[in-house]
Symmetry: D2
């Protein structure tokens, strides 16, 4: 058993940390941070800096121009990047692109990679992942998929509506999940400017950290040639699993950084602000909250590291990533909520970054499976047993 | 012991409920709802409707044009008003005006009432309460007051900075707390347009329900004539107590309505949305959350009713209102947070009102004393004892 | 609305409080307090004192020799009695006798009352309620009843096994729930010494406050004459409902007193014990726990009072008593658990009464419906709606 | 980073698991399990089995006859041993002997080791650790030490009272902490039969897993020769730190096994017991609790492994072991509490082992520093900062 970082990991950590502090954080008050995320212009400026620093798209393979990070490496780097709401944008490791890159490396054809993946890894384009649908379609339960893909000659014709599509506005292309005539699901790639694709409207969301925000997207008879199918016919949901567990975990990593930022901000304030004759931090009522933050950060990090290590061993880590998702999304949220509380008026206004982290993070307990769906799966597995003898091996 | 509403209370409840449903809720998507609250224009439109419905400023005395509601009456009416983020604005019972009206009825001179209180109760003007200061000034600990009032002839000269001043932008007048040369505190009334008063900037806050938002206000040598002093010299903090316990409780009431709205929205969605073969509400994982909502709403209401009844008996209710503040701000928050969770994507976007209630309500655990300050007071009282033999008599 | 006690209620409260303090608490260290509850001998000594004090079986009707307390009256008196683990025994208001008396007053025949109820109310005998069965019989789900009642001439013949039968050892008689040949359920009265009744074994339980402890009881061909049937044929479960809601609530009342005792014990210790330069109670880490205790006691009391008042209005209070059961069993438990924590070593040993209250109270979250069954019912009712418009009317 | 067990660790785990299942668990219902722990007779029988299995006192060094386990090795083995309340007794790794052995290996003289440590490691004797005192002595705050050691010739004379002394009854010897005339603290070794040592009384405690239970011990002018001083003069508290962090962590390990046992018992029951038409485990209300158990067990294990690894690196791990103590004592407790709840009547009676684990475990949140003391220390360190940049390195 070993919890030591390698010198390379430690170096990556320090470099990323400095990069975020020196090159990214000053942009947090840039007016190009809009309610629907940083503008493309701001994004390009940040991307350019990461490129210079050798930190762009670090999770992509070396062939594609990334650093070929392992899952454990990602745990280190993504936490550091998450320290600023703009960090994941700068490193090109934000959702949904990060997961799309991971998925496409695994299942895309060479032609698809050349056309779509290469510029995405280079930070020149963005993409979106069109899975979730409004009621009565696929939400927490992917089997309720309503969007259809009908064969027509050598093309597929896609019809349906997708919602909460992060980054749709401004994306170059989309991955779309659709139901085949036999009921199975398949994924497709499509440029966003294809006829029949309409961005119905951008949603006003609590978060403002995703470039392009979230949108309602309609597909009306969108024709997709056979060559743009992503992965095997009928294996759409299974392929999505390849994306899901790691993507779930990278959320845990990035938001861990954000939670740490909130905590550090609260610590600095609590040390300095006085009330009732002593610093806030000298009041046990506050210092116990800071202690609980430390406990939550510590467990979140360990749970992430363990799951990342499992993935690095080739384990699918479905169970472990479900556990990580629940534990981290709840622990990291508690950290941010306590930090808001300690900061008082600063915590609920733009006088600190923490109010933004608070708004940005709430949806994390919902997307990639709300806590309830993960508890349900973990519980069902226990109910059906044999229970995994040791959860952490 | 009796938990029955009087027929008059029941009638008020029904009337308010219908008013909110029929005349207010349709404005929730009005573009005049801005990040800094409803515009004055929208406010006037809502006020006019409440005036017609005979529900305007109902907590003010009958002499002043209100309905002379008791504290228990307020518990009934304010909960109903809070069901819409615009309800308290419409009824002119929002913070800080609601508390300012209460305070001025108790301590203002007839001339002050004629000049400032009368148009406020009529819904024609707004006011603000300038107490909180940036570090190292008065925050949770009012004794740290830094703003000074210096005697100069028959005037006072005020210097200082106030922060988180709700409704400052657009207010006709302010109540300002300042420290006298002897260290005691006194309150003053002043028109906002007096020379030396500058609204330094409006803060971007999580909430968007308060007309005028929140601001940083500077007082530079503001001259205030003797006649505009509010209450006794040196009794500023004691007078503020008159405002505090009831104002604290009316927050509990209004937010109870908001929490009920969130819950009702989640219930409706959970009954209709399907996942994994049945409605969300048929999943115990969801229905237990709805049950917990019901439990939290129930206790919050009882705690409010009890404290309101105590106030109606002439009790200062410092202890009971501290308990109500902690219990309600936390229970009502849990209701809203669970409702967001059940609503999933709808809960974190403008697809439901609940994301707005979520953002609006977070600061409630902080203002009028954060939970920690109330726990500290309650705990200190227990530590010093004699413990109140029975908390609920 | 009115939260004031009547002078009569206040007097009853004071008298009961003094009685417990002066006449009962000194017996808490009596060696006749055994792991299976106080001995019959000790019980009789306590009962005699309550009789002299005019406080015996106060919930029974005046005809039967009680004080004819309303449900609200009971809320006052039972809380005081619960302040000592021996208080409910002394006043003859402990489970299951308290509920059995309530039920029999409503459905027993005059002859049954004369034979069984009269001496029970007089404190001369004890009774038990035989409902719960080992798997696969009736536990949380009463419809799984396995014990059978077969008609044989003018008698019924009962066969089955009952478990967790509180007070069985030493009881004069039992109320037995059994399934009829048509599947419906009926209740029967029987002396415990009838042939075919065997106390298989006494269970070692966490609690030690119930006289007779808990037992596994077997019924092998027990013959019961028609006249000993309790209530209507086939209405056993419906009759049990009459017992259930009030019995559930009286548990909340008694344990509220116990929780208050734990809290008072912790307060006294925290004021006096020093650590790190000041009293424990001066540490916010402790005083916040005391504050939370006060909050929990306060809400538990209000929830009980409200539900008792509803019952006094003739409401069945199924929903309200489910809410009260969950809220009180959990809030009162938190109080005791925090008190143990504050007391440290004293809290987990016989150096304080609190370790006993801790062991005694754990099962309260389970019996009369575990929290999960109540949440399930409340949630199901919300799911099926129309939601009760206002929970607290 | 590596979470893989070595083959040796895996083998030890399997062997210990089988040993507990095959040779220890059947003794759990042995009547020699008394309220004050297993009798010496039962203990010797268990020890003999562990000796045969080659698993006795495995944490002791190989020179002394143990297996020389590292801290991570202990994490593996002790969790398995804790699966039965009798497991730590059988392996001779229970408190306080486990910690005393660890301490004495570090600071005892060769003569002291020969006389006291050797038979202790061999399982032939038991020992106790006399530190805690009744008020106003040393409790959570060791600086309040009242027991005195006065120099008299070449001897020390000890006077004082110690409380909550685990295992005192039946111990061969004690380690005693006493205050020197200069205010510093020193540790002493003494046979329990020395004149002046009186076991005032055995306490009735919630737990029944420690051989000898807990006692109040008086030291009246006990003469201790210079050669029986343990460690350096005046370094008593510092030496105790050597014992504390690892001893704290071994509690986390053993109780993790106990929590897993409770969980497994609840899982088995929930799979089989039916209610409302399906197994308990098929109710989300129950399966979510099982999922939460899994989450808590998982984090507890990771936190233990991390801290054990730190200790193996030579780190004092004061901060990490404080975190582990809080996290594990609370997470493991939640597991047991939920398991009780799921088991219903079985969980609060001797129908399952879980009621015993429940009673045994409550004090774990108190001894070796209650959660509040650890939160206070963690919080104070944050307040004083520089905050440990990364808690998990």
């Amino acid at each position: 058993m070993d919890f030591q970082l390698t010198p390379e990991q430690d170096d990556l950590r320090q470099r990323t940390r400095r990069f975020i502090a020196d090159e990214v954080m000053s942009f947090e008050t840039d007016p190009r941070c809009t309610p629907h995320g940083p503008t493309e212009d701001l994004r390009q400026e940040l991307i350019a800096r990461a490129r210079s620093a050798g930190l762009l798209t670090p999770h992509a393979s070396r062939e594609l121009g990334g650093l070929g990070l392992s899952h454990v490496d990602k745990a280190i780097v993504f936490e550091e990047a998450g320290y600023s709401p703009l960090g994941p944008v700068a490193l090109n490791i934000h959702a949904p692109d990060e997961g799309n890159i991971h998925l496409m490396e695994l299942v895309a054809t060479p032609a698809q990679k050349a056309r779509w993946l290469k510029p995405l890894v280079g930070g020149h384009t963005r993409s979106c992942f069109c899975m979730t649908e409004p009621a009565p379609g696929a939400g927490s339960d992917p089997s309720m998929l309503q969007t259809t893909a009908r064969r027509d000659g050598s093309d597929y014709v896609i019809d349906g509506t997708k919602i909460h599509i992060t980054g749709a506005v401004g994306s170059a292309f989309a991955i779309v999940m659709a139901r085949m005539e036999d009921g199975s699901a398949t994924m497709f790639l499509t440029d966003m400017e294809r006829p029949g694709i309409t961005i119905e409207r951008q949603l006003d969301a609590l978060d403002s950290c995703f470039t392009g925000g979230h949108a309602l997207v309609r597909f009306d008879g969108v024709r997709i040639p056979e060559g743009d199918r992503l992965g095997e016919i009928g294996l759409g949901l299974r392929h999505a699993q390849l994306r899901l567990a790691p993507a779930r975990l990278t959320h845990c990593m990035r938001w861990l950084g954000a939670a740490r930022r909130a905590h550090d901000t609260a610590v600095a304030y609590a040390r300095e602000r006085e009330a009732f004759g002593q610093s806030l931090a000298s009041h046990e009522g506050v210092s116990f909250m800071l202690a609980d933050n430390e406990l939550d950060l510590h467990t979140a990090r360990l749970v992430i590291w363990h799951c990342a290590w499992l993935l690095d061993q080739g384990d699918q880590a479905g169970h472990a990533s479900s556990m990580a998702k629940v534990l981290c999304s709840e622990a990291e949220w508690r950290v941010v909520d306590r930090s808001v509380q300690i900061l008082g008026g600063r915590g609920v206004t733009d006088l600190s970054i923490v109010s933004r982290i608070f708004s940005d993070m709430r949806a994390f307990r919902i997307y990639d499976g709300p806590s309830e769906v993960h508890r349900w799966r973990i519980g069902r597995q226990i109910a059906r047993g044999p229970r995994p003898a040791e959860v952490a091996r």
